[in-house]
Assembly symmetry: C2
Homo-oligomer: 187 residues x 2
Amino acid sequence: MDIDKILDKIYPIRTLSKLKLIECFKEVRHPKNHVIIHSDKVEKDVYFIKKGIARTFSDFLDGEVTIAFGEEGDTIISLKSYILNQSGYENIELLEDCELYKISVAKLQDLFSTDIHIANWGRKFAEQELIKAEQRFISNQLGTATERYLELLKKHPTLLQRVSLGLIASYLGITQVSLSRIRANIK
Amino acid sequence: MDIDKILDKIYPIRTLSKLKLIECFKEVRHPKNHVIIHSDKVEKDVYFIKKGIARTFSDFLDGEVTIAFGEEGDTIISLKSYILNQSGYENIELLEDCELYKISVAKLQDLFSTDIHIANWGRKFAEQELIKAEQRFISNQLGTATERYLELLKKHPTLLQRVSLGLIASYLGITQVSLSRIRANIK
DNA sequence: AGAAAAATTTAACAAATGATAAAAAACGAT
DNA sequence: ATCGTTTTTTATCATTTGTTAAATTTTTCT
């Protein structure tokens, strides 16, 4: 998905401002398994996925929590770096070879403070992410793990072909073994 | 908490724009148990809590999911109405008699499109909510219900005095009876 | 193709949570 | 203050999920 379409999907910007914004992106590639965002660093850049898939996760004493999966058009971003200029709680790793669009947080903030159309695009960007985050919370609060698994499959039908079972389990808040058992019971 | 402080806590706005924004708020009161946001309606207004406490929840076939509690300074908002102009999934009820600041979504959007400082305030508002939503997701994914309960208490020490056990349980994703049992085991 | 590594399944038992019901305690309206 | 309502606790049993370990399947690398 090219950058023009990605930006428009979030919120259409008038042409002049959009060109100003697009011109600040740089295309980069990274291989599968590359960890592109680190929880212990203040990350200087934000990425949009042109091609590939990524996983956001937090590390804890007793393992990992997968927070989200990102596919084409989605963002690779350390929220705490982007919003608070602090090191965060998220790591992000690429689950496939990826083509990404990259822009610096500083450049974005500069544009936000000088161009009202870009500022409103940035507002819409945060708002869309907010809706997604709230829906993730509700879904994972609801029903049994079986129901949550089925709903995830319905919402992201291709995910299972692209992502290992253990990662999906950690997204659902259960163990990999439990998810395997659940799948056995569905068939 | 008065509106000036509430706005500044989200993001300091330059004085002239802040006055423009504050002037659009109206103070209203509603009694305990009033349902101020309905999931089946496109809500026209957004509220900030001057005094009191509120609960955001979704209704489902097999009961309710509490999404968040809001205290002084927090927002009472239908995200889907605010962001997408659609009816949503959230209901919000007041758990105490409340004093609120109210502004229309339309007026806010008008200000966003004409005043870059207010647009950036709106961006920061969404961003702060996004951080909170992500942290809620992570917390509720992590550890046992006991740990999540203790963490909630640590983060919102007064909540237990203000909110019934059943509501806290539905926030933690467990039943009220389970939470009662958990509390018995802690002591 | 074949060996090594990684991912998934299966199984058995333990621990946590759900469901239901009844008792006790706290709260509210008159 | 007291009666009626709501909330919380306690108890029992069923279900779900966790833990561990081993077997099986799939993937990766040469």
